[in-house]
Symmetry: C2
Subunit: 182 residues, 2 copies
DNA sequence: ATAGGTAGTGATTGGCCACTAACTTAGAAC
DNA sequence: GTTCTAAGTTAGTGGCCAATCACTACCTAT
């Protein structure tokens, strides 16, 4: 049961991704995260300086993880073949809703922070996101419009997942309509 | 200063859209909404049964408002001309971030409700969104793929706005690349 | 003018939650 | 087996917030 602080931090990040994805920043208590980790709530504050730091770690992990999925799916491919492979991989993430929702929570949290006058998290989030965008853009051939197109569909998938449209709902039928060609 | 309950409800909905857009459901206090309206906090509970109901009213208004923008922009147009006009109108909404962010807050709130085991708000949100989708689809010619494409780009705009990329950032340059053709 | 309904407020409360402080226990090293 | 360090806990605090209750002010009709 006992593990090193570094290992614990790792499991906290994983638990936090799930809890924050479902509840958002304000809607998630540190108690809930601790319970999922299997540790007492105050101990989180010995592993991280505060709730905010846990969220930021989870957010960063989430973006990294997304790239990992893209990277694995498109290994050795380029151009539209890579785009297709990554699209398919992202559709696969629909089954792991927490991953997609953590992204959304990051987006709205950045906005909330900005609205509250704190710019801290925004900078790092933009850097993370832009870096993901760039890596994908290069992988699919370098065209800006293609990358925009790719991410646009990803964001729509996030939205439909958030709203809870079942997988066989007709709203999903618009995907794959143009995809193979592009 | 004194106004009818109906008028007050109207101004509460408008104020709530702004506050919820910036803070999210959990991050917005009824106190903040009341302050923006210029009314005491307890009075909100005479106008609405609870915080949840205020959020739902704001969410519905937000989707309706989005359609109003699309409808006005594309009045008399059809097909790709309508799509172009609506795209441009949506880009115009980037200047009114609260409108876009209220959408995002609705999406994550629906997911949060689902995760917490309450399905109530999800049903109405999906109905609202699908109805918007359908009206747009018809307006731009009826093709499912085109409508998907249209909304995908809208959702990406939401994301970039949330993350706070400045308007002249290169991340925006991927729009308009394919747009006129489609 | 007064009666009655509607708009609106002040005071309060019970519950939750991030965070702190003080303490306890496991295990590695010798 | 004792000692020392790092992992972990129990108990508590101050602040915030949704919702309630009892009350006051305004307007309108007769």
């Amino acid at each position: 049961m006992r593990m090193s602080a570094e290992e614990r931090r790792e499991s906290v990040v994983r638990a936090a991704m799930i809890e924050f994805a479902r509840g958002g920043y304000r809607g998630t208590s540190t108690e809930a995260i601790a319970r999922r980790v299997g540790v007492s709530q105050p101990y989180l504050f010995r592993l991280f300086p505060g709730k905010q730091a846990i969220f930021e770690a989870a957010a960063e992990r989430c973006v990294e993880e997304t790239w990992r999925v893209f990277d694995e799916a498109s290994a050795g491919l380029t151009g539209s073949a890579a785009a297709e492979a990554m699209s398919e991989a992202y559709m696969g993430l629909v089954g792991d809703r927490d991953q997609l929702m953590m992204q959304m929570q990051l987006y709205v949290s950045v906005f909330a922070a900005r609205a509250a006058g704190e710019e801290g998290i925004g900078d790092s989030a933009r850097r993370l996101w832009e870096s993901l965008f760039e890596r994908v853009r290069i992988r699919i051939g370098g065209d800006m419009g293609d990358a925009t197109h790719f991410f646009a569909h990803g964001m729509l998938i996030n939205t439909l997942v958030a709203l809870g449209f079942p997988e066989d709902h007709r709203i999903w039928s618009g995907f794959n309509a143009h995809d193979p060609a592009e």
